[in-house]
């Protein structure tokens, strides 16, 4: 078959294999087996060709062919990433041949593209007014694109890069980093120098700003804040206002936490028209619809989590919001749910006591109280209920409700469990009021009220980029670069503080709260990536000590930077009366929490840095009400090419389903370790067959099996311990994803009680080990052989009960001579 390719201008030319081979060869430069790969990719490509393919389709086809080999060697991912980058360079900058030319194009097009962005009203005019653009352009370094994995290039390109009004792509990755850096330096005295500092850090993937910031920084629509936290008041005007605010915040891509605890329950009286309320559920459904309506052209729905305290009378229905079956008007398909749990409840679960549900209309102050005060008032209401003084209440077993939550969590991953008393008692920022809820990703803990929609601004340090080859004489090959870690933390805090003065939302209560509190949340990602390089198992003391030490250093530097910023720029308006102003640091809050709870909080109190002098420093002024929070980093983790947040490796080979497509992820640390042992090629099919579980592969040494467990093989208590140790240093919270193999509710109760006991503030999604898998396509499968294996195993187990199944391997039609006899 003769194949012609249709060029962009419509002309046809004969397919030129040589041209493709050269491109693949170039993309494989510096990789081990580039020669064999060129032939392999080229021959697999030819299978997919057809007459009339366009040049653009051809580019994409080569990339897809490179990608499908990632299962055999992750270096193919590098080939695919480079091929994709090349198409982006050509689209944005035009044709080039050599690296020198590419560097020159980067330099030359930077200013014109910026100007075009400004002229088209896409970028902030100040980008071409305040900066020394030639100096910035000279710093652009396209070689840093080699740090990106394929999924990172795709995510950057699909999600974050700016496009012209006619759809032209205006940004290559380095332009993107620079634009974000500039957009976060607009308030600086020397914006050029500062932008260069931010660019340096982000383009090396040492830390990344969070999603909304990456999308909007430097643009004419600077909604840069990431998280919004609000509650609905029990009044129809405010419900309507909330719907309006959700629309605006969703348009600006912020994630929302929304408490509905204050809404009176179903059947509660309404005085004004002498009727009764429908309760919160229908209003939640309304908000859910809003999230789908304001959805960026149907491409990305709004994201929101509803919070409710579990003493609310309608809480049983709240648990059903995410069920797939049932009345669709009483469901929230898009919005998420989280429960705000008290110590009183946890204690009643432990003692198998009763639990009472109330109508908020009758117990309105419960939502404002926490800790021992909450317990006291709750018990008074219990007495009132039993004495017949309350209009409505319901009595159930605390344990029964806890199980219902966990059952729902298992079946639908909702509601997430968050602990209100731990959060409030360990907060340094609730001098302005009670914290009523967390946010979309359960890492934010800010007080809010009718006049304050709390805002948080996030960035995450990439731990794996702070692991360096060890210079010492010890056995360790790698070590942590603490100096760079401190530098990253300081630069990130300054960048976040700048953001607050630059960002705009369309909700005045949010802008107000942002100015009053200047709350930021610096977190980390790449924890598992880092410990694997260091050779630690996730569930090892070394890993626990590592996160403890690393978070202590980051926290110390971040807090110190905030005190320095306070000196330079002034303390945040709500500083007086805060925990900081009383000389408290995050570590001090564990004992306060424990004293109130009256039950030990089981986490180490060890510290290594000079916190006493820090206590003195924070008293004098902080620039920010909060400093630390560990976000999930599900998207920016992809850009950084590392494991998200504190997450473990899901398995050693798995697929990621994102809005940019489905991608295979092979653990590169494992592959590198196995390649060193000369074992990768021998075991890779077994690893794929077992869906990324290496434990059953006899040939592998124990230390490999120890470090490379799947998320379902790691003890769930290890996830809690890592979170508890990190939480020592974090004034806000952690998006703690959980993974469980066991579906036993008793086991689940123990795990979630364990979280509470360790002083963990919040948990996030629960991933259950999938039980169903389709027949695999790319590994050898023979169900008849599997069957006879299983049958003989069963027969062996059951001794004499030998039936048909225990016969020698069944051969089906093998008797016929149409099959080879067993060799």
């Amino acid at each position: 078959m003769s194949i012609t390719v249709v060029k962009r201008n419509g002309q046809r030319e004969a397919y030129d294999a040589n041209k493709i081979n050269l491109a693949i060869e170039k993309a494989s430069e510096g990789l081990d087996e580039n020669i064999t790969w060129v032939t392999q990719i080229a021959s697999e490509l030819e299978l997919t060709l057809f007459d009339g393919i366009t040049t653009q389709q051809l580019d994409e086809a080569v990339i897809q062919v490179a990608l499908q080999n990632v299962k055999d060697d992750p270096a193919f991912d590098t080939v695919a990433a480079r091929l994709l980058l090349k198409t982006i360079y050509k689209r944005v900058l035009g044709d080039y041949e050599t690296d020198e030319e590419l560097a020159r194009l980067h330099l030359e097009h930077f200013e014109p593209n910026l100007r075009r962005g400004v002229e088209e009203g896409l970028l902030d005019t100040r980008l071409i007014e305040l900066f020394d653009i030639p100096r910035l352009a000279a710093a652009l370094n396209h070689e840093r694109d080699d740090l990106l994995k394929y999924i990172g290039v795709v995510t950057l390109n699909n999600r974050y890069g700016i496009k012209g009004r006619n759809g032209d792509a205006l940004e290559v990755p380095q332009y993107f980093w620079m634009r974000v850096a500039m957009g976060l330096s607009l308030n600086e005295d020397d914006p050029t120098t500062q932008a260069l500092g931010f660019y340096e850090k982000m383009s090396k993937l040492e830390y990344l700003a969070a999603g909304s910031t990456l999308v909007n920084a430097g643009t004419s629509y600077p909604q840069l804040a990431n998280c919004f936290v609000m509650e609905m008041q029990d009044d129809i005007e405010h419900i309507a206002k909330t719907v309006r605010d959700v629309m605006w915040l969703t348009k600006g891509t912020g994630g929302i936490g929304l408490s509905v605890t204050k809404l009176r329950s179903m059947g509660s009286p309404i005085r004004s028209n002498n009727t009764t309320s429908t309760g919160p559920i229908p209003f939640m459904h309304t908000i859910d619809s809003v999230l789908r309506a304001v959805s960026r052209g149907g491409k990305k729905f709004g994201a929101l989590a509803f919070y409710m305290e579990n003493w609310h009378l309608d809480f049983p229905e709240f648990l059903d919001l995410r069920q797939n079956s049932g009345d669709p008007y009483r469901r929230t398909r898009t919005a998420n749910t989280a429960v705000w749990v008290s110590d009183e409840f946890m204690k009643r679960v432990q003692s198998d006591a009763d639990w009472y549900l109330f109508d908020p209309l009758e117990v309105s102050e419960l939502n404002e109280l926490y800790g021992a005060e909450f317990s006291a008032r709750y018990n008074e209401y219990v007495a009132d209920a039993e004495a017949g003084k309350l209009r409505m209440f319901k009595k159930i077993k605390a344990r029964e409700q806890f199980k219902a939550m966990l059952m729902s969590l298992q079946a639908s991953a909702h509601p997430w469990l968050t602990w209100k008393d731990t959060i409030n008692l360990r907060a340094l920022n609730n001098n302005t009021g009670t914290i009523h809820l967390s946010n979309l990703c359960t890492e934010i803990t800010l007080p809010q009220d009718e006049d304050n929609v709390s805002v948080c601004n996030l960035a995450s340090i990439n731990l794996s980029r702070h692991i360096v080859p060890s210079t010492g004489s010890g056995q360790a090959r790698f070590t942590v670069d603490f100096a760079r870690l401190e530098e990253s933390a300081r630069t990130a805090v300054r960048q976040l503080d700048n953001l607050i003065d630059i960002t705009k939302s369309s909700v005045k209560e949010a802008d107000f709260s942002n100015q009053q509190n200047r709350a930021v949340g610096l977190g980390v990602m790449g924890f598992t990536d880092a410990i694997e390089q260091l050779g630690f198992a996730y569930d090892s003391e070394q890993a626990y000590d590592f996160i403890d030490e690393v978070m202590e250093h980051i926290s110390y530097a971040a807090i110190d930077e905030s005190t320095e910023l306070a000196k330079e720029r002034g303390a945040y308006p709500n500083f007086e009366g805060s925990g900081w102003s009383n000389g408290l640091v995050p570590l001090d809050t564990i004992d306060r929490n424990e004293a109130d709870r009256g039950v030990p909080i089981t986490v180490s109190r060890k510290s290594t840095l000079d916190w006493d002098s820090m206590r003195e420093k924070v008293k004098k002024g902080m620039r920010n009400a909060t400093l630390m929070a560990i976000a999930p980093t599900a998207s920016i983790g992809l850009v950084a090419g590392t494991t998200p947040g504190l997450d473990p490796q899901f398995t050693q080979i798995f697929s990621r389903n994102t809005s940019s497509g489905k991608f295979l992820e092979v653990n590169r640390n494992l592959v590198a370790d196995l390649q060193k042992l000369g074992m990768w090629e021998q075991v890779r099919e077994s690893i794929l067959r077992s869906q990324g579980d290496v434990q059953g592969i006899a040939a592998l040494p124990d230390h490999i099996k120890e470090v490379y467990k799947t998320s379902f093989q790691i003890s769930p208590y290890a996830f809690l311990e890592v979170a508890a140790r990190a939480q020592k240093w974090i004034d806000q919270a952690i998006s703690r994803n959980m993974y469980l193999e066991s579906r036993d509710l008793g086991d689940m109760m123990d795990v979630y009680i364990g979280a509470w006991e360790r002083g963990v503030k919040t948990t996030y999604y629960l991933h259950m080990k999938p039980r169903h898998q389709a027949e695999q396509s790319t590994v050898k499968v023979n169900k008849a052989e599997e069957l006879s294996d299983a049958a003989s195993a069963r027969a062996a187990g059951e001794g004499e009960k030998v039936g048909a199944g225990a016969a020698p391997a069944r051969r089906g039609f093998g008797f016929s001579g149409l099959a080879t006899k067993g060799e």
Partner: protein, 333 residues
């Protein structure tokens, strides 16, 4: 008669003792894997569909036009050709669940056909109007007819042979080769970031079909083992030829599916995959592989072979179980 075959209506009324544990295990797995198509939202897919090329849209429409009636055809094969001739209660349980699943698949494709902007008359009539599609259907119908229109005595060798022929036709050929090649084509779009939610639906269907295949292959092997009179070279040769004929029919059908080609796929490519699948089925039945070709669709490792981690805000998670029944260990009670 103590084997799995039989027609005694009064036999198989008690589940215990379970004789064919594999059937019971498959039933339990199938029940846990219960899903409903309306959990999938297709808004984004419709936007994708409108952006796709004519040939890509043709391929998707063509696939669904085939799947939709053929899911119900499988049900006829089960209802008329399998259920009445099987004695074991555990096998009946599984078959009842499978039949509901086929209905659910039909409703899933119906849901997509009714949602996507396509020419529905053409789509619904394709299984009659497109010769290569009609030919595949006719092949199936002939085997089912032998089970219904003539009186079949399951105690005779000829009756048992007809039973196996029908089983091979709907299970190995239709579900195990024809459907599977279609699944690969359907999932290929998601690899290009198109029709992601439709891809999620296909994931569910494939998981069901994987169990259907396990059941069918088990049943075939059990019947062969329990009935030595079926173990003749002539009968084996006939069965093998059925599969080879099915491959040839599928090749013709795929040339109509993709007359020229789309990004990443063309008819030859799909047909190499069909041969790869056919070899796998042949080996599972104890035959020598016929084609000995490699799997061209290595990307199925990503699309189908591995656990999927979903970015929750971006995609429907198909890993959760509906109506999960949690067990409670004794210690917490």
């Amino acid at each position: 008669m103590s084997g799995i075959l039989g027609t005694g209506v009064q036999e198989g009324l008690l589940l215990k003792p379970v004789k064919y544990q594999w059937a019971m295990d498959l039933y339990d797995q199938a029940v846990a894997n219960t899903w409903f198509p309306n959990e999938i939202q297709l808004d984004q897919d419709i936007a994708d569909f409108k952006r796709m090329t004519d040939e890509e849209r043709h391929a998707i429409t063509y696939l669904m036009s085939y799947f939709n009636p053929n899911e119900l055809l499988v049900n006829k094969a089960l209802a008329f050709g399998v259920y009445p001739y099987v004695n074991a209660a555990e096998a009946h349980l599984y078959l009842a669940k499978q039949m509901w699943e086929e209905a659910n698949h039909c409703m899933s494709f119906e849901y997509v056909l009714e949602t996507f902007p396509i020419d529905r008359d053409e789509a619904y009539n394709a299984h009659v109007d497109v010769p290569s599609m009609a030919r595949k259907e006719e092949f199936q119908v002939n085997f089912i007819k032998r089970m219904t229109e003539q009186t079949l005595d399951i105690t005779t060798t000829e009756g048992k042979q007809d039973f196996v022929r029908n089983l091979v036709a709907y299970n190995i050929v239709l579900e195990g080769i024809w459907f599977y090649s279609g699944f690969m084509v359907a999932l290929s779009f998601r690899q290009r970031n198109l029709l992601r939610n439709f891809g999620g639906l296909i994931d569910w269907v494939v998981r069901d079909e994987s169990l259907h295949l396990k059941f069918g292959i088990n049943l075939i092997l059990t019947v062969l083992e329990e009935n030595p009179d079926l173990q003749t070279p002539e009968f084996a040769a006939e069965i093998k030829q059925m599969i080879l004929d099915a491959v040839e029919m599928e090749e013709e059908y795929n040339r109509d599916l993709l007359p020229s080609g789309i990004l990443g796929l063309n008819a030859n490519y799909i047909n190499q995959y069909v041969k790869y699948l056919a070899d796998r089925r042949l080996e599972e039945l104890g035959f020598e592989p016929e084609y000995k070709v490699s799997n061209p669709a290595k990307w199925m490792a990503t699309a189908n072979d591995t656990y999927e981690l979903v970015n929750f805000f971006e995609s429907t998670n198909t890993s959760y179980e509906t109506n999960a029944k949690s067990v409670t260990g004794s210690k917490s009670e």
